[in-house]
Symmetry: C2
Subunit: 194 residues, 2 copies
């Protein structure tokens, strides 16, 4: 969940408003994951336990909601990277692998969301998110590399491209997530030093 207000420069939101906003984003994430980016907003409001008017007040357009969901997922992913990084006991290579699986799950859950967003999203959004993910991943990769757990030539960019490609390739499949999981496992084994 995002921790700062949607509009950080305004006066702070009322507590109930923020609560509802978070509930809406969470519900939208779930609904979009199972119905795709064209899901009914009414259904999102219903599942969030919120009136449809409230949803429309917080997100004046479907696009706005989609962007919020996307941003939220990216933030969750970055937070996960930080968590993994903060644990000094963890095996660096395993931590990286775990995170990549999370990224893949994110990419698969987004389904058409990415391309729907790209149709006419705020161009800065994509840029920002890309940077956030790259930076978060880089830290994990650096530690894994320092521990000698990855082959030379492996970069964050390449890892992310790999994950993205797998997600894209399995997107249209009946059981995409399972197939993606399998491919990713293979790919990660290829990345590891033996």
């Amino acid at each position: 969940m995002s921790k700062d207000a949607a509009t950080p420069l305004r006066r702070p939101m009322r507590a109930d408003a923020r609560r509802n906003l978070d509930k809406i984003v969470a519900a939208a994430g779930a609904v979009i994951a199972e119905r795709g980016a064209e899901a009914s907003l009414e259904e999102v409001a219903r599942r969030a336990g919120v009136g449809s008017a409230t949803l429309h007040r917080h997100f004046p357009s479907r696009q706005a909601l989609l962007e919020a969901v996307f941003k939220d997922r990216v933030e969750t992913l970055c937070a996960k990277a930080d968590d993994l990084l903060a644990d000094p006991e963890a095996d660096p290579g395993q931590a990286l692998a775990t995170w990549l699986h999370a990224v893949a799950a994110h990419a698969v859950a987004n389904r058409g969301l990415g391309s729907s967003l790209m149709r006419d999203a705020d161009p800065a959004l994509g840029e920002t998110c890309h940077d956030m993910i790259t930076t978060a991943g880089d830290a994990l990769l650096a530690r894994a590399r320092a521990a000698g757990a990855v082959r030379p030539g492996v970069t964050v960019t390449r890892l992310l491209k790999l994950v993205g490609a797998i997600a894209l390739a399995t997107e249209r499949d009946a059981d995409g997530p399972a197939e993606a999981e399998l491919l990713l496992r293979l790919a990660i084994d290829g990345v590891r030093t033996r």
Copy 2:
């Protein structure tokens, strides 16, 4: 307009059915060009002067209608290439340029149609259309090359990529068509021998 039935293996369509089908495809082309691929089917039927039930009988899904529009546009483009090729008086270089402008217009008019189709279109459709356009363009290019009107190294594939890139780059722009026209003019001048 397409000349053969949508289902060439069935018994021939009744004349009024074919007439309505053509009206629907034409109307859909216009509506999609101005409202995008998510345009209202009701509006398409209205503009075609046809009941909505008729539209739904001919095209059981939005996807089916989109595919028909796309196919129709490609066919129009190929027919245009044939026309240009058939005129022995024409300047070969100019004919090629004219056709490329038509292709660009087609690409711009399609807007999100391409990506909407690619989401889950019959994969064979894209392949077939690509081949059709490439073949049609190749003939025009060959004649232009024989007349010494194009530089060496120019291939249909490259020309089409050029046009596609220009369309894509100007798609999001406010006045995309005008900008695309300008860029294309520059690009074509670059292709010509001086």
